[in-house]
């Protein structure tokens, strides 16, 4: 059973290496589940929310859809 800290580490590695600077929640879940097959979506959400609250991840919203991104990668500043 992976801890939140483990999940955060996997999410961060994914966010740093993903081909695009923004990604959907589902992309993140599938990536985490490759490493931790029994990871629940709710636990992944908790881990990603912590990363958002720590200012490591950011939400990117068009109004209709929301994506996640790593702060500092791609467009991450208010423009």
């Amino acid at each position: 059973m992976a801890t939140t800290a483990d999940l955060k580490k996997i999410i961060l590695e994914f966010a740093e290496s993903y081909k695009k600077s923004k990604f959907y929640f589902n992309d993140m879940v599938h990536e985490v589940q490759k490493t931790v097959p029994d990871a629940k979506q709710r636990d992944i959400k908790k881990a990603s929310t912590e990363l958002v609250n720590e200012g490591v991840l950011i939400f990117f919203s068009t109004g209709s859809t929301t994506m996640y991104g790593l702060k500092g990668r791609g467009i991450t500043n208010d423009e």
């Binding site: 959907y24 929640f25 589902n26 992309d27 979506q41 959400k45 990603s48 929310t49 958002v52 609250n53 950011i58 939400f59 990117f60 919203s61 068009t62 109004g63 209709s64 859809t65 929301t66 991104g69 467009i75 991450t76 500043n77 208010d78 423009e79």
Partner: protein
Amino acid sequence: MPVGPVEQKKLNYQELRIYSDAELHNYTEEELKSFKVKHATPICDDYEKGPWPSFISDAKRAALHRHKLPKEKLMLSPDVIDDFLGQLELSYKEGEGHWKHGGIVGVFGYGGGVIGRYSDLQQEFPGIAHFHTVRVNQPGSKFYDTDFLRTICDLWEFRGSGLMNLHGSTGDLVLLGTTTDQLEPIFYELTHSMEQDLGGSGSNLRSPSCCIGRARCEWACYDTQDLCYQLTMNYQDELHRPAFPYKFKFKFDGCPTGCVASIARSDMSYIGTWRDNIRIDQKAVLAYVNNEIPRNGGALTGRDWGKFDIQKEIINLCPTECMFFDGKTLSINDKECNRCMHCIHAMPRALRPGVDTGLSVLFGAKAPILEGAQMATLTVPFMKIESPYDNVKELVEKVWEYWMEEGKNRERLGEMIQRIGIPTFIEAIGIRAIPQIVKEPRSNPYIFWKEEEVPGGWSRTIEEYRSRHKR
């Protein structure tokens, strides 16, 4: 845990107000006639000439009012509405929009409620370089008092453009146009002074919305406001922290009249219904027939509508032809009734919904982005409900779990159901297929039985079949 009745905070506008009466009424109609916004807007001006109220006229009024407010009581440029109209004019002229859509703006801890908007002509229109939208979760059935409305108008004039849209199609109060640095102060004022939360946007549960329900309507088959409130409070995480493939909407209609049109506007539509019979007061039926009671609660009066004709206006218009009137007694074959509500609307004192009430659940309505607009599909014909609505929450969570697993990015629930088929969907959420779910009987000749569905099962195997039927 059910959330007990919470007394809504009574706001006192006199304590919260930002502007004096003189500042709020700071221009005359004469001044308005001669007022010109900063940019020439001939096309916009044309929209004021039609018979209907014009948002251009409203915007000009707000622009003049803004110009005359003291500068220290405006956190945004006084020209914000002028620039808004200037860019709109240019868009009409060029046939092209100039809004940049989306961004990273938001308030701390929330992934929804704020939608980033920027102008792509920031030099020409600096007042709207940042023009973010804030969605505010509307109260149940949109009950407000004037203290609330005045307080929020003052707040928005002070920290935003003053332009509002009451209400957006999701139901929220939509506050149009502010800058990034104002978002946290606005959120603080909304939550701390007004006890008001932001609504949903992005890949979130959107602000649940309900009809007026039992607050004023005798046809409400369940307490729409309570269910809406309980689910809003129960699913705060889903409302504010996006983790769905796309948007998800709940809407609650107290009866099949559908005043919030949940059947067309929500991924999960709750429509009040009854499973016994329509209550008939035969004396009142005769009173309608004899024109002693005006039909439709008096709505069809004042013009030459003629006398009420029950055969022509009720019996012949029943979509399932399940009504009969012999001149004295009205009878209804309730098993055939499809809840169109026409007869109940026309003769409200004679006909009323039954007493064994609950709700129907429908899934999958959406607007026409992909594959055209889609109405929701009846999936649970009847469900008895009462607080704390555990059976409703259980169903919601099953649907979400499956959709989050199977739904593609940016795929609405209705699109997923269309892709995988309704049998797969209902099996996933643990519902048995019943005749009410079938839209067109016999239109699909292929029925695939599973072994467990056939009494006694079967023993043949595909190998045995292939031994006799080569590919």
